[in-house]
């Protein structure tokens, strides 16, 4: 950690030994990044097409600008130079290291690690046992030093044997062989150098040299701590998100060069009957399914919150649908919904027969075509969604209820309030933050509906009879992966994102205005 003082730190009398190499590295890294930028821009050496190329260009441009700022700041010995240089070095270390490992085929070897673990589970068990015993010795206190030492040595021995059994020796030889192959050594060396300079820039000496204040130092520490998460977010969420935004402004089939078409895809959405139908379907779905997934969950949670016998069992039972795999569950419901051999219609038939025999009527049992009738196909999807969602929402409400101060209920008991009154006047108001969260998450899940119609309708098209089960995500899938219209599909995705974002923002803003989220 940097131990900077509250005031700007004074520079040392002379430049540290690493300063000149750092300057050289700064310039070298900037030149390297500029070359990479030119290579991608001119398609020389690094031949990429479409949005991937544009995304890389933007990223490299940012890196070159950052490298320039780092050089200037390093020469001036100001904190900006330290911060920009540190960021560039950190990113270079990760990116170059990733490339080196990938070119060594390391990521495909992860499967081999899994297999090796399977074959040496006994040694792994010894390691875990040693860890547990070591922890136990810590907690037990007293004179448990010998036990702790034995446990630690057992753990270390187990680890060594495990790694050797897993192939450490041939692995080290293979590692050494591959790292010197072709360009791998260059990427690995680049990653190591960047890592070394990042470490130097994080030191107290660097903090003093670059006149870093305590606040700036703490900010930098904080940023370093969140860096892994931020990098993951950038690589796996924000990056693809930005790429998809770019793609949405193009006409692109995913196979050939993209043509920039501006807002045309978005304009087309407004006149696309199928997209509008998908929007209509999802709005109807949301309006019906969300209350059905939330209100019964609240009542169920109130019931499960009681101290009646067997409640723990029922809590688990109601939660099961939400942890079951959506594909398996949907396939089961598909069988239940079958209009000729499904249990749902069979139940309707038997109930009607029982009713007829009871009161002497001759009513014919309705046999709905749950999946193939366009007037009720969406209802089938709603039933399935609600069944899956209720359990999860119930658990959330239950957690919310258990955090309500018990003295409120005791006071209500003294005042003579009954269960309904307590639910209405204590439980529901106190649960507002939970309710906002439950409604928001249910809404997001509802608007992203895909798996249920996709599997329920198979082998027919997932859009269902008369496009009754066509949802925006199903439409997105059809455009992207069946009609090769990735650009248009991205526009659908962004339209959906805006809708979800807008609704969620509305929920939270309204709740924020009412002080629900801060109460």
């Amino acid at each position: 950690m940097t131990a900077a003082s509250a005031k700007p730190m004074s520079t040392s009398s002379g430049e540290p030994r690493w300063f000149r190499p750092l300057l050289v590295w700064r310039v070298f890294a900037a030149v390297l990044l500029t070359f990479a930028l030119i290579a991608v821009a001119l398609q020389r050496g690094i031949v990429l097409d479409g949005p991937v190329r544009w995304s890389l260009l933007v990223a490299l441009l940012g890196a070159v600008v950052g490298a320039g700022i780092a050089i200037r700041g390093t020469l001036q010995k100001v904190h900006l130079g330290r911060f920009a240089g540190f960021t560039i070095d950190l990113l270079l270390m990760v990116v170059l290291g990733f490339i080196a490992l990938n070119r060594m085929g390391m990521f495909t070897g992860v499967d081999a690690v899994g297999e090796a673990f399977n074959g040496n589970a006994a040694w792994l068990a010894i390691v875990i046992l040693g860890w547990f015993v070591s922890g136990f010795a810590d907690k037990a206190g007293g004179n448990q030093k010998i036990l702790k030492q034995v446990a630690q040595w057992t753990m270390i021995t187990g680890m060594v044997v495990l790694t050797v059994a897993m192939g450490l020796i041939p692995g080290l030889i293979e590692f050494a062989t591959r790292i010197v192959e072709g360009d791998v050594i260059l990427f690995a060396a680049g990653a190591v150098i960047a890592g070394v300079f990042a470490r130097i820039l994080w030191s107290d000496t660097a903090a003093r040299l670059f006149k870093t204040t305590q606040t700036e130092g703490e900010n930098m520490d904080g940023m370093l701590f969140v860096a892994p998460n931020v990098l993951g977010f950038l690589a796996f969420f924000a990056g693809p998100l930005i790429v998809s935004l770019f793609i949405s402004f193009t006409e692109w089939d995913g196979l050939t060069d993209a043509n920039f078409v501006g807002f045309q895809n978005y304009i087309d959405l407004f006149t696309d009957a199928l997209f509008l139908k998908a929007l209509r379907n999802i709005v109807i779905f949301g309006v019906v399914a969300i209350p059905l997934a939330v209100i019964p969950a609240l009542l169920l949670a109130a019931l499960l919150n009681s101290k009646l016998p067997g409640m723990r069992f029922f809590r688990a039972v109601y939660f099961l649908p939400s942890i079951a795999g959506v594909v398996g569950v949907t396939l089961i419901w598909k069988q239940l919904f079958n209009s000729t051999v499904g249990y749902l219609n069979y139940m309707i038939l038997r109930v009607t027969e029982w009713f007829n025999s009871l009161i002497g009527t001759g009513w014919e049992a309705p046999q709905p075509q749950w999946i193939s009738d366009d007037s009720i196909a969406l209802i089938a999807v709603i039933i399935l969604f609600v069944w899956q969602q209720i359990g999860f929402n119930t658990v959330l409400f239950l957690a919310g209820m258990q955090s309500i101060d018990g003295t409120l209920y005791e006071a209500a008991d003294i005042d003579g309030a009954g269960p309904w009154r307590k639910l209405r006047n204590i439980t529901v108001p106190m649960l507002r933050p939970t309710t906002v969260f439950v409604v928001a998450t249910s809404t997001i899940l509802a608007l992203q509906l895909f798996n249920e119609p996709f599997i329920l309708q198979a082998p027919s098209p997932p859009s269902g009879p008369g496009n009754a089960t066509l949802t925006p995500v199903v439409y997105l899938y059809q455009n992207a992966f069946q009609e090769f219209q990735i650009g248009y599909a991205s526009a659908v995705a962004w339209a959906l994102f805006i809708l979800i974002f807008g609704i969620t923002l509305l929920y939270f803003r309204r709740s924020g205005d009412e002080g629900v989220l801060t109460s």
Partner: protein
Amino acid sequence: MKNKLILLFAVFALVAAACGGDDDSADDGTDTTAAATETTAAAGEEVALRWMTRPDNPEEAAVYGDISDELSASLDSVTLTYEPGSNEGAGYQQTLLTNLSAGTAPDVFWIPGTDVADFASRDVILDMREYADASGHSDADFYEGPMGHLTTDLDTGQPGNALWGLPRDVSTFGLYVNLDLIAEAGVANPLELEANGEWDIAAFNEVVDGVAALGGEIRGYGQSAWWGPYGAWMNNAGGGFFTADRSACGLDSDESIAGLTALRDLYSGDSVIPYGEDPEPPFRAGTVGMFQNGRWATPGIRTVDFNWDVVGLPEGAAGPGNWLFWGAYVVNANTADPEKAWALVEALTEASVQAQISGLGANIPSRVSQEALDAFLTFSPPDNNQAFLNGLQNDPSTEGPLWAGSWPEFVTLMDSEIQAVVTGARDIADFQANICTETSAAFGG
């Protein structure tokens, strides 16, 4: 500090162990995630090729893996890696398209027959004619229908001298028949009717009505609601989706409408599984007399506990008709070594390899080879495997791409309208008058 060192050691040990694992691709030092490059390997140099095909079931995936290992050992200077393509999170088409977009697609991969035009016109796959001529390949060794599409010239949109790949396998429709229900209903056995040359639409309807008359949840017939099953009815009536040269919509022809009318009439009563419902579960539950599906459904049907067999589709007004379904192995335009990739395609479509796959019962060899067909015919039940082969002989319409339009767009537009007609939501006269205008967008209209 000690804990940090132990942690560092553990992480490094795991990374090193990954290097020392027995993963094939790791051992040979190849990067299986790398894109196919544009450099050609020197003669005799070991080349690593990746290939991908969609198996119908886990058993097939295992056999493809074994075949890959065998070919890897037998092909000269080639190391193969097989990828099934799909997993729990993504289907085959998603995986393939994503890999192609990212430039990481395998050297050889399978695509449905309907996608050939899309891939060829976008320069994603190679024209292999040059390599095929050099290897002594003959187009005539494979069924004519798929080869017509696989040799289509990009400029003319008609069969020419190109070669976009070779068909992996073929399939046709048959009617899976519940013989117990047929006997219980006391109707004529469709297999006997077919043997006597009396298996036409009228006889089919009699069997359907006869079985449905058993009452309760029993139905006479079921088909799924996608283009294959209803298309077969149009084919049997002498119609089809397109004009003869496949350059325009043919859904409004009198023959196509006749086939569609027959289907609509069938679905207007209660004798069949409602259109849009999956008919396979009730068939397997023993409540459906006849279930129309392809050869790929056979392994699943074998689990039922009633007597069953397969009969061909009934003859329509235009005589016997069917579909010829197929998919093809094609070569990635960015493959490292087109010559060796072609050798792999040829090896994968050899009679002995096709015999191994068809021995599992899900599809029919695409090579016109007695060895492969013999292996296919050994898979029993059903007793009447010949029904599927008859479908190949009786002038089937070949599934295929649109070289002058967009097949996926056409199907999306067509599916919902056909469903509307069959379920009575749309008047068939209105359909005939307007459907080709409505689907003209698929032809750039």
